[in-house]
Amino acid sequence: MQRGRDEQRKWSDLCHKVQETLGSPSDLVFRTLLTVEEKTIHCIYLESIVDKNSLEEYILKPLMEGTFSEVEQPYVNENRFVHDLPFSTSSHDELLLNVIDALLAGQSVLADLSLNRIRMFNVTGPQHRQIEEPKSESIVRGPREGFTENVELNIGLIRKRIRNPHLRFEKMKIGNQTDTTVILAYMENIAPASLVDEARRRLQSIQTDSILESAYIEEWIQDQRWSPFPTLTNTERPDAATAQLLDGKVAVMVDGTPNVLLAPVTFFEFFSSPEDHYQRADIATFIRWIRLISFFIAVFVPSMYVAVTTFHQELLPSQFLISLAAQREGVPLPTLTEVLLMEIVFEIIREAGLRMPRAIGQALSIVGAIVLGQAAVEASLISAAIVIVVAVTGIANFVVPTYSFGISQRLIRFTFVLLAGFMGMVGILCGLLFMLAHLASIKSFGVPYLAPATPAFLSDWKEVFVRVPRPWMNKNQTPKFMRGLKRRK
């Protein structure tokens, strides 16, 4: 009897501590149930993240009716039946830690003091959106599924595509405050061991308070901090992630975001899209080259325009020069200022278009691009050629399949415009050399960024610079540049 009272007191203390630790939140629920066997069962949960229906239907109601059985419960599987602690023999601190962890993870804590047991059931509510087509990586042909914010669902999406026992998902918790679930995924039989070790080492060395998106992780584990070029890529498409895993790469999945990080990545892989493999080989190759050309257009057209019109007019064909000269008659701003101004205005319109509600965003783009541009040209504030240059550049920028690489292009473009404005072609050439030297110096998880061009892996060219028909592809799925991976120091 005395023992029962002690346990009751201990439980009351625990409840009090829990309330105190969590700051008496409004969604914290304490319940006491009386079963048909007249046993008292205590229950704590956070009602905002618990699936109350499941809790009532599969746990509380059967407990009260005396029909609860852990074995027969279809709802309670290994994963959901998380913890079972002896109540009286556990220390107060240990109990508190476990209960808090369980509550924050969306579990329901049940204490049967008569049996001296405290149990945690996973009854997290389905707080994730439905699987939808990713908006940032839309394709014409191919699967429409996209990752969601729920990492378990995302694992399922990959498992669905790779039914292979070698597929590995390593779970870790990162973030002192957020304690976010991060999954390192790879194919054990394909991914180089050194790559997996390196990825694991980098993930484990992260010391941060919060991980709210995969970008948080990216900034911790990327190779080059001061570079406009991303050394990891990300995707919202399970098919793209699967293809990369099958190439021997590693994926980092973060709970709470649909963007899955993939490493290593090379410069030329940014011009590939998952859709390349769903189209005919010749068409895919053509489109890949269009993307490469678009990259050069997006980066170099404004700077070339500035250089040619202010320093090297002799490079243009006469008729072209006359047309440009005619357009510039009466325009008050220097070409460099004109280009910078228009590029910045374009970036503003683009950013505004992204943030606006979709319907307004489209209207804003039209007003910005057509009305503003036309009015500015008619008012002789800018030349028509500038509008064409900015528009072509903007469109070419959207061609690249990876959004983060598109942003890099935008940054580099401004640098080149400034260089061209101050030094003409000499500036562009200097910038280009710097850029190439920088690209050649970057590595992504030990893989040279410009591979397979330099260092040259000729056998990989048929899958990078062209997309050969499937029967001609390398028998070994791993790209050759992945095979020479060594552990980084």
Partner: protein, 398 residues
């Protein structure tokens, strides 16, 4: 280690920025609409006083680009600036007394020199063109037949820019006739100055209806004859001086003998029968031998005949074809020999026998060429191969 690396990068960046200041960068920056785009350039030098007159035809971009619309249509597409001075450099530096924009000569399409200047020598003009850093020497040079002032101040039908019209006509004549060769550029002229060879430059003549012209009036005038520039014959240069005019017939024989692979349609009279034939040179080679220290130049050329544009009866059978080939061979050989005789009598080494001997017999060249009569004593053998290949579409004209 990282600090040291950053320091090194910082040093490299500072060095780059400092070095970039010595580049002619921002300093030579010029906006496109601050340029006076020269489309044609004319030169006249008074042989007596040495006073030089430069004509710069400057493009008015607004009028050229907006030719299709009406906004710039009333403006002249080019403005001709006439500048006079004692030297080219002086004129250039004083040009801005009248010219509001920076002279930009990289895009001119033709150079016209007056006939009296050509006769006096073009060496100074060639040098002036070459010393201008942005000037191009791959553009045609023409000799004015008549007043250069008039030529430089004529608006033309079709092309808004007179230089475009001239350049286009020269190109078409090179493709479609034997009146023109590709070697009419300033650079061809300057190259031959080294060897003192002969070179032919086209001549141009202007015809304008009224003293004051409006480009829009000319564009709306049906009579293309009234205001136009005409390519008329050519000027033969030896060294930097013009020594003679050549008419169209002379030009054809000259170009055939010098290996220009063009085509020309001509009307021939063979044994009293008239026929229009197109001749096209397809093969040409020139060799020189020495016979008792006298040069013997052999020219072999293969010509194709065509009656594509013939309105007269054309050969109807194999015999007639062979007969025509034989007669044409005789006729052409005779004409070419006569042309050579005529020019050699005047002391013109148009076939460049001197150059051929120098190239083929470098050790004996001095001895052979020291003989002032080498040209008259030289034997020239012209072998013409004629083949009738294309017969016209109408077998029996109406």
């Amino acid at each position: 280690m990282k600090e040291r690396k950053r320091f090194a990068i910082g040093k490299a960046l500072i060095a780059t920025v400092l070095m970039s200041t010595v580049l002619t960068a921002c300093w030579d920056k010029v906006e496109i609409n601050d340029l006076a785009l020269v489309s044609m350039f004319g030169v006249d030098i008074d042989p007596e006083t040495g006073i030089k007159t430069l004509y710069y035809q400057i493009i008015n971009p607004l009028a050229v680009a907006s030719a299709k619309s009406t906004s710039g249509g009333e403006q002249a597409p080019v403005y001709t600036y006439k500048l006079t001075g004692k030297s080219f450099g002086e004129i250039r530096s004083l040009a801005y007394k009248v010219l509001p924009r920076k002279l930009f000569v990289a895009h001119y399409k033709a150079v016209v020199v007056s006939e009296r200047t050509a006769q006096h020598g073009l060496r100074e003009i060639i040098n002036y063109i070459e010393v201008q850093s942005t000037a191009r020497s791959s553009i045609p040079m023409l000799v004015a037949d008549g007043s250069i002032d008039k030529i430089m101040k004529i608006f033309l039908p079709f092309d808004r820019l007179p230089s475009d019209s001239v350049a286009s006509r020269l190109r078409l004549l090179t493709q479609e006739s034997l009146l023109m060769s590709k070697h009419i550029r300033v650079k061809d002229f300057s190259e031959q100055l080294y060897d003192s060879k002969f070179i032919v430059m086209p001549m141009i003549r202007g015809k304008s209806g009224s003293a004051k012209q409006r480009s829009s009036e000319i564009a709306s005038n049906i009579d293309a004859e009234e205001n136009n520039l005409f390519i008329s014959g050519a000027a033969l240069f030896h060294g930097d001086r013009m020594i003679e005019r050549l008419n169209d017939t002379d030009l054809i024989w000259y170009h055939l003998l010098t290996g220009v692979k063009g085509k020309q349609t001509l009307k021939f009279q063979l044994d009293g029968k008239k026929i229009t034939l197109q001749i096209k040179q397809v093969n040409y080679n020139k060799t020189v031998k020495l016979n008792k220290n006298k040069p013997v130049l052999t020219i072999n050329m293969d010509l194709q005949l065509s009656t594509g544009l013939a309105t007269e009866p054309i050969p109807q059978n194999w015999e007639e074809v062979k007969d025509l080939e034989r007669k044409m061979k005789q006729y052409l050989t005779s004409e070419l020999n006569q042309f050579f005789e005529k020019t050699s009598k005047k002391g013109w080494d148009l076939l460049d026998i001197r150059g051929e001997v120098k190239r083929t017999f470098p050790h004996k060249a001095k001895m052979v060429l020291n003989n002032s009569q080498y040209l008259k004593e030289a034997d020239v053998v012209i072998n013409v191969g004629v083949k009738f290949l294309n017969i016209g579409s109408i077998i029996k004209p109406f």
